[in-house]
């Protein structure tokens, strides 16, 4: 597609056709989608060239990041998880541009591995899934840091990563479909609130 293939004029035309047809709920998703795709064609051009190469995290750390993202929001019967949703790529991109993120996440991942070596004699990825769960269950809740101060940096790190993973997952196509958001389209009339008992 060469750049902005659908012009404002053709959208206007499509909208006026919708109005003439007089449909109460006429949706023109094709025009909308093509317009958006035209605008971002350039940005996406280099995203299709194969496997993602991390911009900030060294390979081993990136694998740990992927593992954590997948654990925070895993695939289940209803949808794919944060890894399929591209959360690790999104987090790596932002981190590569932000020294504060580099410290929090890069340092946090090193804290995680050092803590695993202390407790289990090996890095996080080499731990058994039972050992991984045991540690994550400790750093996934603020109240644990109150009873064990040695966990507080880990709790901070995990909380920050969880927020970013949520951002990466719920702004993806998979995540948006999982939530059931319906919209971002062209309507000729807004239907208002559907009838639901009690609302």
């Amino acid at each position: 597609m060469s750049g902005n293939s659908i012009s404002r004029r053709s959208i206007l035309k499509a909208l006026s056709m919708g109005a003439v047809a007089g449909s109460v709920l006429r949706v023109i998703p094709l025009e909308a989608a093509e317009y958006a795709h035209g605008l971002i064609a350039a940005e996406k051009a280099d995203a299709k060239t194969g496997a993602y190469t991390p911009k900030f995290f060294p390979p081993q750390q990136y694998k740990t990041l992927q593992s954590l993202c997948g654990t925070i929001f895993p695939a289940d019967a209803d949808s794919g998880g944060a890894v399929e949703a591209g959360a690790p790529e999104f987090i790596d991109l932002l981190t590569s541009e932000n020294p504060e993120y580099q410290l929090k996440l890069g340092g946090g991942l090193m804290w995680l591995d050092a803590t695993c070596v202390d407790r289990y004699g090996k890095s996080y990825l080499d731990c058994s899934s039972q050992q991984q769960k045991e540690l994550l269950d400790r750093i996934a809740y603020r109240k644990n840091a109150m009873s064990d101060a040695s966990l507080s940096q880990g709790v901070e790190f995990f909380s920050f990563l969880r927020d970013l993973t949520a951002d990466g997952f719920f702004t993806s196509k998979i995540g948006i479909e999982y939530l059931g958001y319906i919209g971002n389209t062209f309507l000729t009339d807004f239907p208002g609130c559907p009838p639901v008992p009690g609302v």
Partner: protein, 582 residues
């Protein structure tokens, strides 16, 4: 370097700024037969390439978070260009002990490309503040004098709403409003119980075709800029008709520095920096309309020093920069369990609220003066960055159970924001910082800010009201919820500390982006800069046409009044030009 040979061309009018006020003046003046040159400090706008309407977050590598995740500080990556709290190379300063933020747009159309489109008329009492309660001052014009211009603006730009006869919240020329969303139905019911007026909102978004612009297509993305121009922006609605006259010249990337006074005591040229070359240029005109936004207009006038006006052009009164106000802001969010039962449905609507609460206690004895209105929104909008931080913080953990919790919480939050009237005080003003210039060599503004007791009481009343609405509607208040207030997200003040709760109730000065009053109008040249026609008392061919002339800052968002007042000012300027007075 100064350009010594002035260009031959002398325009009838030079307008500085292309936003709501400048755009309106450009349309009215060119259609009235005058030649107009407009200086805009940013680039020209191209909606087809500059707007991100209809793009999904996953179609952008940063998903809306912006480079390094920093876009949330400027309302996100999707916002129509170019609005910023901080502009590189163009700083402002804040006096010690004060706190103030200044949002600026450097682009054709200015802040109208992404504003909230809330289009409320000021009411009769808003023009008579001092006569009503003894505080502040009266305007030199009445509501009745401005009303015909509200009619003209609403008829031309298109505003939806309903005739309601609410005291001091006048009805206008309205298109039909959109139907309420589920969130609005719930809140309306609670307001009825509490006897709080809740009516269709009044937004500058068209629900029926108007002047070749198609009706809204209900994608809820007005803030991104509208490719079909179904909402109002100066760049898409005011400037095109000016251009169609053939008498309009836009000079983009032109950073106005000062207005030069001629030997005859009239302004004769505007000096500006061409940002693309860094060179200094001048443009000559018979009259000048300063519409650069309230504080920027004050800055230009204060920086226009001459032997006649050592404290700034038309500033013999010394009040330029004084009487600075912003709206009183306060926010609270609630979780509404009944929304968890809603089936998935299209909840988008227009890019803004379909209903709102005008001040419902007008004329009653309250424990503070003046009033506020309530804006609210929430529900099943397009998911975005930051949306689930609150759920993650509340439930913690990880895995399928957290994922499911996010899904059941999605669309169940409604946020409430109050917008109230600030009474001007002597400790809130802007002035030229004696020590700092921007990258163009232009001295910058220094802000001083203090909320008064009346504003603090009002913000507390907002909080109490929001809480009672949330609880009456069957919801629970979310304390320190991250989506509660964009300002708090921008500030990084995401969790309200108990010890700071009282201070945090009220917004930081400037952050509601309704700053105004810095070049005020009045009948007395000793206490005001402009006469009732927004014409400088001191220099008859200088006019101001943004929110700087406003004498009060009532709870109604200022943009509609900026346009009505600019239209009135422009009609007067046209009349003066015809009579050969200018």
């Amino acid at each position: 370097m100064a350009q010594l040979n002035p260009p031959a061309k002398i325009y009838d009018v030079c307008i500085i700024g292309s936003g709501a006020g400048g755009g309106t003046a450009a349309k009215v003046l060119t259609e009235g037969g005058l030649s107009v040159v407009m200086l805009e400090a940013g680039p020209a706008l191209n909606p087809e390439t500059d707007f991100k309407e209809h793009i999904w977050p996953y179609e952008l590598p940063h998903r809306g978070a912006g480079i390094g995740g920093r876009a949330s500080a400027d309302f996100g990556e999707f916002l129509a260009p170019n609005g910023f709290w901080e502009i590189e190379g163009e700083p402002y300063t804040v006096a010690p002990g004060s706190s103030f933020r200044w949002f600026r747009s450097r682009i054709e159309g200015g802040r109208t490309n992404h504003w909230g489109r809330i289009a409320l008329r000021f009411g009769p009492t808003d023009f008579k503040a001092r006569s009503t309660d003894g505080m502040g001052d009266d305007w030199p014009i009445t509501y009745e004098e401005l009303a015909p211009y509200y009619d003209k603006v609403e008829s031309f730009v298109g505003v939806f709403g309903t005739k309601e006869n609410v005291p001091n919240a006048p009805d206008g020329v309205f298109q039909p409003p959109p139907k309420p969303r589920c969130t609005e139905t719930i809140v309306k019911k609670a307001c009825d119980t509490l006897k709080i007026t809740c009516i269709p909102s009044r937004l500058a978004i068209i629900t029926q075709p108007l002047n070749g612009r198609p009706a809204c297509h209900y994608c809820a993305q007005c803030g991104r800029g509208c490719i079909t121009a179904s909402n109002f922006s100066s760049s898409q609605v005011m400037i095109p008709p000016a251009q169609a006259t053939g008498r309009f010249t836009l000079i983009p990337n032109a950073m106005a520095r000062e207005i030069v006074l001629g030997k005859d005591g009239k302004a004769e040229a505007a000096l500006y920096i061409d940002k693309t070359t860094g060179s200094e240029n001048r443009v000559r005109a018979r009259a000048f309309v300063v519409a650069a936004s309230a504080c920027e207009s004050a800055r230009i006038l204060l920086n226009s020093r001459s032997s006649s006006f050592s404290d700034g052009l038309a500033n013999s009164s010394g009040v330029i920069g004084r009487y600075l106000t912003d709206s009183v802001g306060s926010s609270l969010a609630g979780h509404f369990p009944q929304l968890e039962k809603m089936p998935a449905h299209n909840h988008d609507g227009v890019g803004g609220m379909h209903m709102y609460m005008p001040w419902w206690k007008f004329g009653e004895k309250n424990d503070f003066l003046r009033g506020y209105h309530i804006e609210f929104g929430g529900g099943r909008g397009m998911p975005g960055v930051g949306e689930f931080w609150g759920v993650c913080a509340e439930y913690e953990g990880y895995g399928v159970s957290l994922k499911q919790k996010c899904r059941s919480s999605y669309g169940t939050v409604i946020g409430f924001s109050g917008r109230g009237e600030m009474i001007p005080n002597e400790n809130s003003f802007c002035e030229i910082d004696p020590n700092v210039v921007d990258k163009w060599g232009i001295p910058v503004l220094r802000f001083h800010w203090e909320w008064g007791e009346n504003e603090l009481k009002m913000a507390q009343h907002m909080q109490d009201t929001f809480r009672s609405i949330v609880e009456t509607a069957g919801g629970t208040v979310l304390v320190g919820h991250r989506k509660t207030d964009e300002t708090q997200i921008a500030e990084g003040r995401l969790h309200i500390d108990a010890s700071q709760a009282k201070r945090s109730t009220i917004s930081e000065g400037g952050t509601i982006i309704h700053e105004l009053g810095t070049v005020r109008m009045g009948n007395n040249p000793k206490t005001s800069v402009l006469n009732k026609n927004c014409q400088a008392h001191d220099v008859k061919n200088v006019f101001v046409a943004d929110a700087a002339p406003f004498v009060t800052n009532p709870d109604k968002n200022p943009t509609l009044t900026i346009m009505a007042l600019s239209w009135k000012t422009s009609d007067y300027l046209l009349d003066q030009a015809k009579k050969g007075e200018i």
